[in-house]
């Protein structure tokens, strides 16, 4: 199984890499670039939401901070894109670090609303200061090379996926996060440091999001508070992750692909029914919550995970046994 999964992943990866050589249609490339971006945003969101159990309703703020950092550095400090890009990720991570210390003390709905309020405050700030261009937004110098942005997005998201895969599914880190999600007090009793782990998870979620925001800014060439700092990114990330399956990496990726594909096909070929799209999307979300509360991925592969669990204990031996037990029910890959 493991080998087959790896083979399939490798095939998909290779296909994605050679794709621009076969597909010359720049619109298709653009759509794929955006699709890849959403995969990245969804898995990054899932680090804090799915693995750690803290629903961040302000995920979009990290995206916007990354976008604005790159915009400001490129257009006002005249830095080249490559110099500005890492700064986008760092800026998002620093904000996560600073905001995380007080915010991650909150739980459940309180955390969700606090992050949402913070992201709204950041949006209002961007509307009210000079250097962001306020409501007028900001235009970046146009560099419209579809292949460049496709590969940049693909490599960024691929690397994010690989690193998160290692940290969350292979290293003890992921299990520790899940332990916090299931029982924070219990995790503490086992000698874990939840505060530190939550911080790490929050920063790990923010960093790639900020970088993706930066690529987005350079790619789209225009950013403003409503498109980058609004609810769009947060809302979509929540929907994609819940639809695909929380607490896994493949679930959100699958959710992102399907929701984005649905959206794009509707948008491109059924544009006369744009309002119908809202109705169907809303209904789809509501229905999927009722019938597949574990998300698509969790529902599809649940039986297998349950069946293989007894004979198969992949957890590193150094982990306390109780930890793997807490984490076990959600292991779905």
């Amino acid at each position: 199984m493991k080998n087959r999964g790896a083979t399939i992943l490798a095939i998909i990866g290779a296909a994605l890499l050679i794709l621009p050589l076969v597909v010359h249609d720049t619109f298709v490339l653009r759509v794929l670039t955006e699709g890849v971006m959403w995969i990245g945003l969804a898995i990054a969101f899932d680090v804090i939401a799915g693995y750690t159990g803290y629903l961040n309703f302000g995920h979009g703020a990290f995206f916007g901070i990354g976008a604005y950092t790159i915009g400001i550095l490129m257009m006002q400090a005249n830095l080249p894109f490559w110099a500005a890009l890492p700064a986008g990720g760092v800026a998002a991570a620093v904000v996560a670090l600073i905001a995380g210390i007080p915010t991650l003390r909150l739980k459940g709905a309180y955390f969700a609303i606090a992050t949402w309020a913070l992201s709204r405050a950041i949006q209002q700030l961007a509307l009210n200061v000079e250097f962001t261009g306020g409501p007028d937004g900001m235009r970046l110098e146009a560099f419209l090379n579809p292949q460049f942005f496709y590969y940049l997005m693909l490599i960024t998201v691929g690397a994010t996926f690989a690193i998160l895969w290692y940290l969350l599914e292979r290293a003890p880190f992921g299990l520790k996060l899940k332990a916090i999600r299931e029982d924070e007090e219990g995790a503490k009793a086992l000698g874990l440091n939840p505060t530190k782990l939550k911080m790490q998870s929050f920063v790990l979620s923010a960093l790639p999001t900020g970088i993706l925001g930066g690529i987005y800014a350079y790619w789209i060439t225009f950013i403003d508070p409503s498109s980058t700092l609004g609810d769009l990114v947060s809302d979509q990330a929540v929907v994609m992750v819940v639809f695909g399956g929380m607490g896994t990496l493949f679930g959100p990726a699958l959710g992102a692909i399907l929701i984005f594909a649905f959206k794009t096909i509707f948008w491109a070929y059924l544009s006369d029914f744009q309002l119908l799209y809202l109705i169907i999307l809303g209904a789809l979300i509501a229905i999927s919550v009722i019938f597949i509360p574990n998300g698509l991925w969790g529902t599809m592969f649940k039986r297998k995970a349950d069946a293989t669990r007894p004979q198969h204990q992949p957890e590193p031996a150094s982990e306390p046994a109780a930890l793997s037990a807490v984490a076990a029910p959600e292991e779905g890959n």
Binding site: I113, A114, G282, I285, I287, V289, I290
Partner: protein, 295 residues
Amino acid sequence: MMELLPQALTDGILLGGIYITIAIAFSLTYGVMHVIDFAVGEWIMFGAFTGYYLNKWTGLDPFLFLPVIFVLYFGVGYLIQPVIHRVLSGTKGNPFLMGLVFTFGLAIMFRGLALTAFGFYSNSIPSAFSEGSFDLEPLGLTVTIPTVRLVGLAYALAITLILHYLLKKTNFGLGVRALAQHKDAAGLMGVNSKRTGSYVYGIYVGISAMTGVLLGCILSIGAQMGNEYTIFAFFVVVLAGMGYLAGVPWAALLLGLVQSIFMIYFNPSHTLLAVFAILYIILLISPRGLFGKGV
């Protein structure tokens, strides 16, 4: 600038009255069902349009229709609640999150339906109350109180008192409070959690719809109006302490006053920045709201 203070306070309190009506039933629902209903603004919007069309067809004052609208939307809420209950009582996934995402889906769907049915223009509901205002000049105060906003405040206080009475003095209220305190224990004591939940959700949807009519008279209506009110409902409910009903009027008044004072004495452009920053900071300092009594 000090001579503006009485008017600033009046405006803030009247605005607060509007926020009470948006948030009070929302808070009740959270207390009992533990659902953050993202569709609160959309219930308000549907109520507003129902009032708008009833007024248009009959020519009667929209305030006369409030009972009809309440009954109608009570029914809608009553019928929908079992679905939400099912989502929330699932053993799979994270029920709190599921409730949130479920209502989020409803909100998107409702907005799409409203745009299809009502079109994209903004509108306003005329009422006899929209006409006049009370001038307190004779009392030596430069204060004007718009009649329609005063009616709004009165409506807010009436709803608050009725809910208070229902909760504290009736058997139904006893059941609701028991449910809010401990779901399982309440069940053991003979509270029908399903039925009580349906009533509560029905009451909430009904009140929100009535509020929509009021907002249509005071401000404006449109298919996309919901989102804005969802924001304020969140704000007030969190500030009050989630599910703590008695905190709602104070939190609502505080929000109204913050907005009013900020618009008058500071840079109006920073009003929402202040609102969100205050919400964030209060959450950090006292997560269970101003009174520390949230659930």
